[in-house]
Symmetry: C2
Subunit: 226 residues, 2 copies
């Protein structure tokens, strides 16, 4: 069998050890720091041994990310359960959980939404379609209950996803620190605080609840000026 120095090695043990080492390296050093040789060194095998378990580096990383997202659906479902079905709060909780999970497990998101690779891992292969299905259900429920205006649910989901994902991407691109944007607004400095501060704008719009019709008319007038 395999293990020489590692006495208690059973079948599948090496594969799991490779995945764990790759996971740790990804979290510690990022995708650049995850090389076949460094992974192999941690496990205690040669670099080429990895190719007995994974076709190439891409598949290894894909498996690591896939495993990292196993808790994702569960995480979001748990956040949803804290609020009643059909409530706006449940919809908001999905976005908050998305952001929170992504910030805590940002190494996986950095790989998944890496803009460099030619062939992206299928984002849709994730459990629950990357949370899309869960968010969509919460949105449909909220529309049915009257807590949310009735529009195309997929449009609403894309709107909410874009907003949350955009905030996430900006946060990750700015390395979660030293980003002057996040100091610009006195309250709401962290991504999560900012997400909460978006609340009134999302619910009532940029026109504002009271001035909704008046504001729309004013903007129409202003548009026709020039």
């Amino acid at each position: 069998m395999a293990g020489r120095e590692n006495a208690g090695s059973r079948s599948g043990d090496v594969e799991r050890a490779i995945l764990e080492a790759a996971r740790d390296l990804l979290a510690e050093k990022g995708l650049q720091g995850l090389s076949m040789r460094t992974v192999a060194e941690r496990v205690g095998v040669s670099a080429t041994a990895i190719y007995h378990y994974f076709e190439n580096k891409e598949e290894l990383v894909e498996r690591v990310v896939q495993q990292g997202f196993l808790r994702f659906g569960e995480y979001i479902e748990q956040a949803m359960r804290a609020h009643s079905r059909g409530s706006l709060e449940r919809v908001r909780a999905v976005g908050e959980a998305y952001l929170q999970f992504a910030l805590e497990n940002h190494a996986y998101f950095r790989v998944l939404f890496n803009l460099q690779r030619p062939h992206p891992h299928a984002i849709e292969d994730l459990p629950e379609g990357g949370g899309y299905g869960l968010l969509r259900q919460a949105v449909v429920d909220a529309m049915d209950s009257g807590a949310m205006r009735t529009v195309d649910p997929d449009l609403m989901v894309m709107y909410l996803w874009s907003l949350t994902h955009g905030l996430l991407m900006i946060s990750l691109a700015c390395q979660l620190e030293h980003c002057p944007e996040f100091r610009a607004t006195p309250e709401a400095r962290t991504p999560l605080e900012m997400f909460h501060a978006f609340g009134p704008l999302v619910r009532e719009g940029v026109l504002g609840a009271a001035a909704a019709t008046a504001g729309a008319a004013a903007s129409d007038r202003a548009a026709g000026e020039e």
Copy 2:
């Protein structure tokens, strides 16, 4: 002087040729396809010659991206000029121009918002702060004119930026094609169509213009249920 085969080479010519070759390669093959050796081959010099003009690959790429963003501010300002100051349409036009420019020049955005590199190029070093200043001014004007509710301008800018940037990132991650999300909603298939479809949600909120106060009350009730 430098050029042997290239007869008409003047001072600064090689540097410009390197930047152009790097720019073309970035657009054609992406960051992975841009190697010092391939750039050098296109220019007709050795790879190490590049190090006489740029400290390393990072600086070369940074310069390429910087040059690519020279037209960015101009592009956005032009889109703004088509709408009157203080109008919501002008604010919307900034977002639309951001999205449009990013999709047409996505190679630069893929580098700038690459989540892998350890030390990000300063996004703020871009002209106009990456459009942040322009958007902010349009937002302040819209608030002053009453076309937009008055809140912390930076909060409003982050909200609008996050929404647009998120849509952009999802579009780029899905490679602008074969992304099932973009087929989910029948009308609005392209990123720009989707951006326009967001309009009512952004202006009037997810509660809806008419049901604003009623919807808010309903959501509060629903939140307290569980």
